[in-house]
Symmetry: C2
Subunit: 362 residues, 2 copies
């Protein structure tokens, strides 16, 4: 498409903008409640936070921050994720390495150095021990590759039929270096938005495997541990403002959550999004939006404009950031709203997805 075909800027009326969908009202859990979109956010806002209590000053983040006192000192990052991906094995990974990398990434997104993982297994009676063994080996391999040991664990077995083979939970603890303050509400007008590489690979890889779809070339999950990339970025610039790994809900959900959290406008250029040709083809074929598809080895970073060159240089020379790109910016207008600038020069509002286009992807 040629950008000279551009239409006049048809910016929406942000002042009076509201979500076109009515509030959802359910009395039972639906698949979308686990999708990382609006239904998940509603569950957290209206069910979990009132029940657990809001922690003073806490932000919705990939990991919680704990300040140590007493006989210990410093700040910790602490995070957990359960994994129910189907199938257990897919091109580029399995539920085990996915769980290890995913929790390492959640911890790393607060700038922390991950130091230890836990592993909890819920196993269906009748699962082949060889399958459990392979998953455990892949977890061990991923943990060793990342230098983050699995130090504690638990196994429960449920009756045949009451789990889909195997569910895995991982939790992780990391140490936040002094001077590092990375959280969604630090997104500031003028910040530049960087994506660390091609998007959409994980979701499309799992779905292709599950549904037996083929798109010419095999699409492999991007599952990877990103704490090394984060450390390289922080070595170049300790004042990174925001980091997030765009898993469930994709990059769109991450940007929407950060915009809402910091109450700033975020804009990105569709033309600059790193969407691999095979992901674009699969999405076009299936009517999906690559911005909504889960990634498991990518991060989005918000940094001050003055720091972009340093951060980009560090990313481009790191294995997991060598295809990093600037894709957008934080703007003064439309606080809390994410806007895409299309290839035609028009703008459109990007909304948090309702659920997940591709359930049980992680």
């Amino acid at each position: 498409m040629n950008v000279t075909d551009a239409q006049p800027d048809s910016a929406p009326d942000f002042e009076n903008w509201s979500c076109p969908l009515p509030l959802r009202s359910h009395d039972r859990v639906v698949i979308g409640h686990g999708g990382g979109g609006k239904l998940s956010a509603e569950l957290i806002e209206h069910l979990f936070l009132p029940a657990f209590g809001r922690v003073e000053g806490a932000e919705m983040h990939d990991a919680a921050t704990l300040t140590l006192t007493g006989s210990a000192g410093g700040r910790l990052a602490f995070s957990t994720d359960s994994y129910v991906v189907r199938p257990l094995f897919f091109p580029g990974g399995c539920i085990g390495d996915l769980a290890v990398n995913g929790t390492i990434n959640d911890v790393a997104m607060s700038g922390a150095v991950p130091i230890a993982l836990s592993a909890g297994f819920i196993v269906e009676e009748g699962l082949e021990l060889a399958t459990l063994g392979t998953v455990a080996e892949r977890m061990g391999d991923a943990a060793r590759a990342a230098g983050v040991p699995i130090v504690t664990g638990d196994t429960k077995v449920v009756d045949a039929g009451l789990a889909d083979g195997l569910y895995v939970n991982t939790a992780g603890v990391g140490v936040i270096p002094e001077g590092v303050d990375i959280r969604p509400s630090r997104a500031t007008p003028g910040d530049v938005v960087i994506v660390s590489g091609p998007i959409g690979l994980h979701g499309v890889a799992v779905m292709s495997q599950r549904e037996g779809l083929e798109f010419g070339t095999e699409i492999r999950s991007d599952s990877a541990a990103l704490h090394g990339l984060v450390a390289a970025m922080l070595a170049a610039c300790a004042d990174v403002h925001v980091l997030r790994d765009p898993t469930r809900g994709g990059l769109a959900a991450s940007l929407c959550e950060i915009a809402a959290s910091a109450c700033v406008g975020v804009e990105y250029d569709e033309a600059s999004l790193p969407v691999p040709a095979e992901v674009a083809a699969a999405c076009s074929f299936l009517g999906l939006d690559p911005m909504h598809i889960a990634n498991e080895g990518k991060l989005v970073a918000f940094v001050a404009a003055a720091d972009v060159d340093d951060v980009m240089a560090a990313m481009l020379s790191h294995e997991h950031g060598r295809e990093a790109r600037v894709v957008g910016r934080v703007v003064d207008g439309h606080p809390g709203v994410v806007v895409a600038r299309t290839r035609l020069g028009a703008t459109r509002v990007v909304d948090l997805p309702l659920g997940e286009q591709l359930p049980r992807i992680c």
Copy 2:
């Protein structure tokens, strides 16, 4: 029964003793692999530890110990448990408070002060939101009562039929006070074994509810957070040697694991076991052994004989220890083997149970 009926001491021949059961050989997961007995131990020993790698100097303990370096300092305890108890609600608790108390206890059994919990939910599509809401409220209530906040979480939803309503994972982090060194291998000949109160209540309560059995009076789970009791014990005597909460596999499994870990002999007196009459009746009726039944609000402590009076005094004046009792001792003979002294004065070897007599109790 009158102890003057005592038989001559028929001590087993420990030198040549071996487990009468052949080694299990399975190619599929069976329910017992999640029971906290021998099958669980084999899974850890032969599958998880080879896959994850053994951490140098680490012991099999309720929680792992992390030594902080860099910008943080001190020692942390880190633990996780998944909960698949059926039914979700039972006399004295539900899956939610059980998960909170259980993980607090695992952290506290290293002497640590628990500081934060994570909560991961795997929910079956179609579960009533009100059920999830009640479980979350009970978790929040338990966390507030314990003073240990739930700071991070995750929810996944699986298709109807692929979970039994709801599974919960909790992980916990705590700070180990300076000078405290509590671990199984510190059990030493001469140590006294203390149990904090009546045993067998949790397992019998859940099973009664599940099977619709009635035993005259309602038996309620003992689910409770024990970090306050541990703190009181440590205030009286910082040199507690071993703590463990006898959950899956019961007190028998805890004693067997500690005896094996420290390579010491452990002896206890059946007559001194605090078995409530209703638990004894239920066990007698069902052919179960109270020593093998899960507890969720009890601990077993190993302390030097010189410290027993101080520790017992602290326990007896604490809400969760007021029925504490000395039940046994660590002896010079039969290293790694637990021996029960019966009411008749005879002795018998107590073995790690194979699986769990009552599956899905936690």
